[in-house]
């Protein structure tokens, strides 16, 4: 038989247990909106019953229950959902970063628009038509130079903005690495606290919630593998390298020695590069190194093509001073393109080469030019078209013109058939110039044959070689060539390979950008949907339902009230026993 005070004991235990349960429910309600919080629940269990079986039993009815206690406090968490969602968060981080970079690039490129490069290219070549219509008009020439400047400025502007964007992304790499280290530090210190709590036998629910939140944030920046150890620490691996080892952090750093920031591990010497997989960091690196670089390269290629074609035809024509060999554009690509300063200086409009050397009217011999001839301007305007037949340009150096080494004589041979023989006509005795062919950066010495044609003129024949050659006539500085060095008119067929006009080439580049950007956007949206779906699953398990907690509160309140009532009853019994039995 148990003592009368036994009942008090059970009731007290019940009060304590219900109190604890109410506290837990209170905690849940208070944290209903805390990000990353998983609802906690107390596991209630019966306390050890009485008596323990022994050899000499009392024989009374047993065992008697001794009450209730809260055995442990658990959090409701689906750790598999955590694992799944972190994978998707990494992908989302990568696509978001990529999409953001591409959207910004689209804003920089600004097509289709009336002020974009495509429209300005068309305006520029139209301006050459106007020069062809009015070759000696200064205002028309000035207008054409202005439109050339506008085109060059826009190329430069766009290219430098892309480079600036690359620079920004470069800085972001550094900032992102710092963020990763921060998160790692937080994980490490939480690891320490959790292991201290849990080796003591308790459950570190709130600390684990915090750590899971940090791991979620880390996963959207970079993909990692997490392994939980026996004492409750989470070890974080990036690739095969450990980032967090219990309470130790192996930090990442940036190595800017190659001109671009690359993430490296600083705990080994020499610093090894980090294997970045997925996450915002990879998105930024890809955007900087392949996406933006590709578009910058394409832009440079378009600019280089225009510079090359326009310059070679322009150098073949003569300005109003009768001289040829001038380039229209300076620079080599979109970053360096400009208009030849000679043309933008005072009096530069007369240097625009709208005319060409034409054969003189017999009985006069040789070649002359006239200010009303707009044939070179027409040829330049035709660069924007896929024109089927092109003349090899004629060029003349005026008699007694002095030139230095590497004067560009300026033959537009870009449409010459492969291995064509280009015949050059020297009309009277001249020092034999050396002729070199330059294509891009390759320089080849042309085979030069000197002979005479039917009229007794000295002829220098050069072997044309491959397409797109430029003839450079070089001689000692200060040499005077006392005759016109002129190629014969050569009608060649033009078979364009690839994008046939600069406009088409540029349009293809823009279309590629559009595809890239819209792909990134739709992937980003898809990832968002996936993440939302997984988050919903997670929340089903972990989030706090106020209705649920309120119901539980009512339950616990009643139990508490009942237990208190029992205490009154037992109190009454004791009172009867102590105060009212025998006197």
């Amino acid at each position: 038989m148990t003592s009368p005070f036994f009942g008090l004991d059970i009731a007290t235990r019940s009060l304590r247990a219900q109190q604890t349960l109410v506290d837990i429910a209170n905690q849940n309600i208070a944290n209903a909106n805390t990000p990353g919080y998983s609802r906690q629940s107390g596991v209630v269990s019966e306390t050890m019953p009485y008596p323990i079986p022994v050899f000499r039993q009392s024989g009374a009815a047993g065992q008697m229950g001794t009450g209730v206690y809260v055995k442990e406090i658990n959090r409701s968490r689906d750790t598999f959902a955590d694992y799944q969602i972190r994978n998707q968060l990494s992908s989302q981080g990568r696509w978001d970063a990529r999409s953001a970079a591409l959207t910004q690039l689209e804003a920089v490129i600004n097509e289709p628009s009336a002020t974009g490069i495509s429209a300005l290219m068309t305006k520029y070549f139209s301006a050459w038509h106007e020069v062809a219509n009015n070759p000696s008009d200064t205002a028309v020439r000035a207008n054409m130079i202005e439109s050339g400047k506008a085109l060059a400025d826009t190329f430069q502007n766009t290219a430098s903005q892309i480079k600036a964007q690359q620079g920004d992304l470069d800085k972001q790499v550094g900032l992102t690495v710092t963020t990763i280290n921060d998160y790692a530090q937080q994980v490490a210190s939480l690891n320490l606290q959790i292991s201290q709590v849990e080796t003591g036998g308790m459950k570190a629910n709130d600390l684990r919630d915090q750590r899971d939140l940090v791991l979620d944030k880390l996963s959207s920046v970079i993909k990692f593998t997490a392994v939980e150890s026996a004492e409750g620490s989470v070890n974080v691996y990036i690739g095969s390298h450990q980032l967090v080892d219990r309470s130790q952090v192996h930090s990442m750093g940036v190595d800017g020695s190659s001109g671009k920031n690359q993430p490296v591990w600083t705990d080994v010497t020499p610093n090894t590069p980090v294997t970045v997989v997925d996450g915002k960091l990879q998105g930024i690196l890809q955007a900087r190194d392949s996406v933006l670089q590709t578009h910058l390269d394409d832009l440079n290629a378009t600019a280089a093509r225009i510079i090359e074609s326009v310059n070679s035809v322009h150098a073949a024509g003569v300005g109003l001073d009768g001289n040829s060999g001038r380039a229209f554009f300076s620079g080599t690509d979109a970053l360096t393109i400009g208009v030849n300063p000679q043309l933008t200086a005072t009096g530069g409009t007369s240097l625009v080469a709208a005319a060409r050397m034409q054969p003189a009217t017999p009985p006069a011999t040789g070649y002359t030019w006239a200010s009303g001839d707009g044939s070179n301007a027409i040829a330049i305007a035709q660069i924007s078209q896929a024109v089927a037949q092109r003349d090899v340009a004629q060029v003349g150096l005026a008699p007694a013109q002095t030139f230095g080494p590497s004067t560009v004589v300026g033959l537009d041979l870009s449409h010459a058939a492969a291995n064509a023989n280009i015949t050059m006509n020297v009309t009277s005795g001249a020092p034999n110039p050396t002729v070199t062919f330059t294509q891009g950066s390759t320089t080849v010495n042309g085979t030069l044959t000197v002979g005479t044609d039917a009229s007794g003129n000295q002829i220098i024949t050069v072997d044309g070689g491959t397409l797109g050659i430029r003839v450079t006539v070089s001689a000692a500085s200060g040499t005077t060539l006392n005759a016109a060095l002129v190629p014969m008119n050569n009608q060649v067929a033009h078979t364009p390979a690839g994008p046939s006009t600069p406009g088409d080439q540029y349009a293809q580049q823009i279309a590629a950008l559009g595809v890239d950007s819209s792909t990134a956007k739709s992937q980003s949206t898809n990832q968002q949907v996936l993440v939302n779906q997984l988050d919903k699953q997670r929340q089903q398990v972990s989030s706090v339902s106020l209705d649920e907690e309120t119901t539980h509160l009512i339950q616990y309140q009643h139990a508490y009230q009942a237990a208190a009532r029992v205490i009154s009853v037992v109190d009454g019994m004791l009172d009867t026993l102590i105060n009212h039995t025998g006197h």
Partner: protein
């Protein structure tokens, strides 16, 4: 399946934002009038739009080139018209002079008129279009004929034989200038011949000049016929250019412009959906068990 207030709130928020984005996107389309505001809106369409815009701008430039070429040809034709008039008058005088029964005063009257005609024709050969001389080949910054004499006379002709070209369609160039020497030489020769005949009072020369005037008339008529043919060609090119421009504009509009009717309809729908999502969210988030407990 457990649903909590947090899940409802998250869901509502996401859907509201999605709807708002859609409304914003449609509004952008309507206010800009263009379906394609950046390449990612429609990559293929962007490439098409850029190509069509380029073709359209080029086509307009060719239209301007054709107009300028036509004006040049018209100016040339009207100058040659005046030349023909002068030529007819000179021929009349030649007929008179070849008559053989002229008095010295008659002869000197005719001579002075011929001198005037020579100067007049020289002046006509200095006709300009804008700042460019029409009859000097490509040396259009200076007059071609400096004397009222055929180009065979040394120093009489300072122009050249170059043809002034205009590109009127991709790869198609048209010459807009007539050959100055072929057109004016016979006339100057004929006038000189008549003048010489009058000075020497040589009837045979004067009669021979009639034939020369006929040759001159042929030359001028040939030039004018050339101009006429070229003008006709340019007219039909212009017509074609115009219809090409119209077609390109239509195509460009198809690719790039937003269909206002459907855009506005979609916009209204999107707004309705947005408002509905707001209302539904407001109602679903208000009630909980706590409202029913006291």
């Amino acid at each position: 399946m457990r649903i909590t207030l947090g899940m409802i709130a998250d869901n509502s928020l996401r859907n509201i934002q999605t709807n708002q984005t859609r409304v914003d996107q449609l509004q952008n389309e309507i206010t800009s009038g263009s379906r394609i505001n950046k390449p990612s809106d429609d990559p293929i369409g962007t490439a098409q739009a850029l190509g069509l815009q380029e073709s359209l701008d080029q086509s307009k430039q060719y239209g301007r080139n054709i107009d300028q070429a036509s004006s040049w040809l018209n100016a040339t034709d009207s100058a040659l018209g005046s030349v023909t008039d002068a030529l007819h008058r000179a021929r009349e005088l030649a007929v008179q002079a070849a008559n053989g029964s002229l008095s010295p005063s008659d002869r000197s009257a005719i001579q002075s008129e011929i001198s005037q005609l020579q100067l007049h024709v020289l002046d006509l050969s200095h006709s300009k279009y804008g700042a460019s001389f029409l009859f000097s080949g490509t040396r259009s910054d200076q007059p071609g004929f400096t004397q009222a004499a055929p180009s065979t006379t040394p120093g009489a002709y300072a122009g050249n034989q170059g043809q002034v070209q205009r590109e009127v369609a991709p790869g198609v160039t048209v010459a807009v200038s007539v050959d100055p020497t072929t057109t004016f030489d016979p006339l100057f020769s004929a006038l000189n011949q008549l003048q010489a005949g009058l000075t020497a009072n040589d009837t045979a020369t004067m009669q021979a000049s009639l034939g020369s005037f006929d040759t001159a008339l042929d030359a001028v008529s040939t030039a004018r016929a050339q101009i006429g043919a070229r003008t006709n060609r340019l007219d039909s090119l212009k017509q074609r250019q115009d219809s090409v421009s119209v077609n390109l504009t239509g195509l460009l509009s198809q690719v790039k412009d937003v269909d206002m009717a459907s855009a506005i309809t979609n916009f209204t729908m999107a707004q309705t959906v947005y408002q509905a999502s707001l209302k539904a969210s407001a109602q679903s988030m208000q009630i909980s068990l706590l409202d029913f407990l006291h």
